[in-house]
Subunit: 252 residues, 2 copies
DNA sequence: CGAGTAGTTGACGATTGTCAAGATGGGTGG
DNA sequence: CCACCCATCTTGACAATCGTCAACTACTCG
């Protein structure tokens, strides 16, 4: 049922400075001793293959997971048996934060390709953070950052045009790849068109058509999952409405 | 520029058990002594009138705010000068959580009616939580809950039908009012149709038409801001697709 | 009481979803 | 190793929901 061997980020170990754990353990005055204590509770788990679940909705929660290579999709099963994609996560990103609330996962996480994660048992992290104020501070920030992400998504889905959504999506990946030391203009998307559409609130066909149109307009070159951005500036204008009043939004 | 005297929740002091501070200070094994220490840092600020800002985007962050009466809208100014409404907040809810990340507010908060809030200076809260593990735990949970809220909103905006969105919106308020000891079926919405539309990603006219249609279908009675839900069950079915396959969502 | 804002309603159009058919490619089994 | 098969993707035609524009009504507030 799970097909392995689909790779693209496999074997790429995140540089610590790019790992979101960096903001959680290294900088901001965490003493080397404390870093070591943190390292002490982190467990590296076996790699997941494409289609493997890292956790499922309503699983009991015990650990935060940090992606170290590969990519993960989080989603919630809908009433209708369908699903809502919540996010695509790259190396250095932490998943499972929503489960702290009552120790049950509220979404499922599945590997989009061969993926490695680190486990951080939350209870241990919690008690460790009690004795390391700077660690506590970093956890607060990490959670707050995730909340800030909500803002972006609401704005994305509130702003209507399909074109803007896909452009935003592509630029988001461009930026995130860049931050991780990969090319900002040449990358593989590990998720399907279906998943992109679901995430962006669009039909598959719309996503497909947009890719085609973007290519016709020489904004990018696309061949299945392989995307090459040819004109990031224009994509950026598309999103930030530089081009006159094209992006009107109901003002109040 | 600010018009005062629009009331509906004015002078309603939240019962502590309904205040979201409850999960932050009282239960889950927080000692009475510790509660007192927490109370010691909380400040009750002057009431805000309709249109007053509690904070603005890019303001320096110092305190979390807990609404004790009234209601607040959070929003981000868009590039275009327009805005994206992020949420409507009722007594007991905490705002400002997104600002922890880098001590700057990423959204603005404005009072929709006469509103009172408590200030919780975050640095003091943080150091207090270092010495009170159960307080630290509650803060983690509070932040996690907010992240969980993201899930709901993504699902709401991902599910396309305007009707479903408004129904979800109404049920959300129904539930939240109920939790606070008010009627679940008879309440005042303190925000404008514009703001509802912006929040739900719909045009004002669509919101207006839906209210009219819902009334025609005897789902509710509405007169401007005053809403009476007449058939919560049917609204619920509308949202949770009980009625056959009407609510299809792209499955993957 | 008057003016301006908020809300409602109607007509129309466009973006985007739906349905359907065809193309492409990867994985599996013979 | 090749070929078939199935899932994914693409493309087209059409329909419909929802946004836009516009006019009118009704509050609210000064």
């Amino acid at each position: 049922m799970t097909n392995r061997k689909v790779v693209s980020f496999e074997n790429i170990k995140v540089a610590c400075k790019d790992c979101s754990l960096a903001t959680l353990c290294l900088p901001m005055g965490l003493e080397p001793d404390d870093v070591e204590r943190l390292d002490g509770i982190v467990k590296r788990s076996r790699p997941f293959h494409r289609g493997d679940h890292v956790f499922r909705e309503s699983d009991k929660f015990h650990s935060l997971r940090v992606i170290t290579s590969g990519s993960i999709k989080t989603y919630t099963p809908n009433e209708n048996g369908s699903e809502q994609v919540l996010g695509f996560h790259l190396p250095g990103e932490v998943i499972g934060l929503d489960a702290i609330q009552n120790y049950h996962h509220t979404c499922s996480a599945v590997a989009l390709e061969t993926t490695a994660v680190c486990d951080i048992p939350f209870e241990q992290l919690e008690s460790l953070s009690s004795s390391i104020p700077s660690l506590q501070h970093q956890i607060y920030r990490l959670l707050s950052r995730e909340i800030g992400h909500e803002t972006e998504m609401l704005t994305l889905l509130g702003k209507k045009s399909a074109e803007e959504r896909l452009a935003t999506f592509l630029l988001s990946f461009s930026e995130r790849f860049k931050k991780r030391g990969f090319s900002a203009t040449d990358f593989f998307l590990s998720m399907s068109r279906h998943e992109i559409g679901n995430y962006l609130g669009l039909a598959v066909e719309t996503v497909s058509r947009l890719f085609t149109r973007f290519q016709d307009e020489e904004l990018l070159h696309v061949e299945r999952k392989h995307v090459q951005l040819l004109d990031i500036d224009r994509l950026y204008e598309m999103v930030h409405g530089n081009n006159s009043e094209k992006t009107q939004q109901s003002r109040i």
